[in-house]
Amino acid sequence: MKKHDKMKLEIESKSINEGFARAAVAAFAARLDPSLEELGDIKTAVSEAVTNCIVHAYPDSIGLVQINCRVFEDYIEIKIRDYGRGIADIARAREPMYTTGGSDRSGMGFTVMESFMDELRVRSREGIGTTVTMQKRIKPRK
């Protein structure tokens, strides 16, 4: 098994791609032999990040979402980037239950990403776009 590898995926910000994106990342992560729970955590975090791009980065248009994954010996790094509206106040956006998305949204996206992954970094500039970088350690199994 190769210890380092990478994968790049570019999709349009259409909601039908949410399921595709999380399934593609999960298939790529499978080489680290994650448990069912770890795989569920990765899929959930990817789903949250991609949904944010669709709902918040490109609220009135269709734009590009880039997903870059790298696997190392015992962890996966997932970088999800858009070129959309950007986040005015990242600290606020990361607060539980805070949303600008109305009653359809729970405001728990970043909270879920944070609690399901080992690391979460958010970089954003208004009018330029947002990059969410997440890492998840996969525990070795015997």
Partner: protein, 105 residues
């Protein structure tokens, strides 16, 4: 969407992948059942949910908000491990009752 009415209880089977893409249709169906039967108790049977992200939280919290306006309550049951973890991350037990076993619709 499969559901049945048992006196003042509406039992609704939620299935498939519950994300932002599928949420609108699912929450519209749940709201229609509430508006039609005005139940005292809404049971969401989550046994068929294969995947859920925070969009599912919006469904459960929205349902609980709507039911409390009717002086009713929400029970969720048969929640598989992955959706349960998402619900727990939001402290869902503050909003609804969770049953760990129960009849399937």
């Amino acid at each position: 969407m499969d559901y049945r009415i048992d006196e003042t209880t509406a039992i609704v089977a939620i299935g498939g992948e519950l994300d932002h893409h599928s949420l609108r249709e699912t929450s519209m169906a749940v709201n229609r059942i509430i508006d039609t039967y005005l139940p005292k108790t809404l049971v969401l049977d989550m046994g068929g949910v294969r995947f859920m992200d925070s969009s599912g939280l919006a469904l459960v919290i929205g349902g609980s908000r709507k039911m409390s306006e009717l002086n009713g309550r929400v029970i969720i049951r048969n929640v598989p491990p992955q959706p349960m973890k998402v619900l727990n991350a939001a402290g869902i037990s503050r909003f609804v009752t969770i049953e760990h076993t129960g009849k399937v619709v």
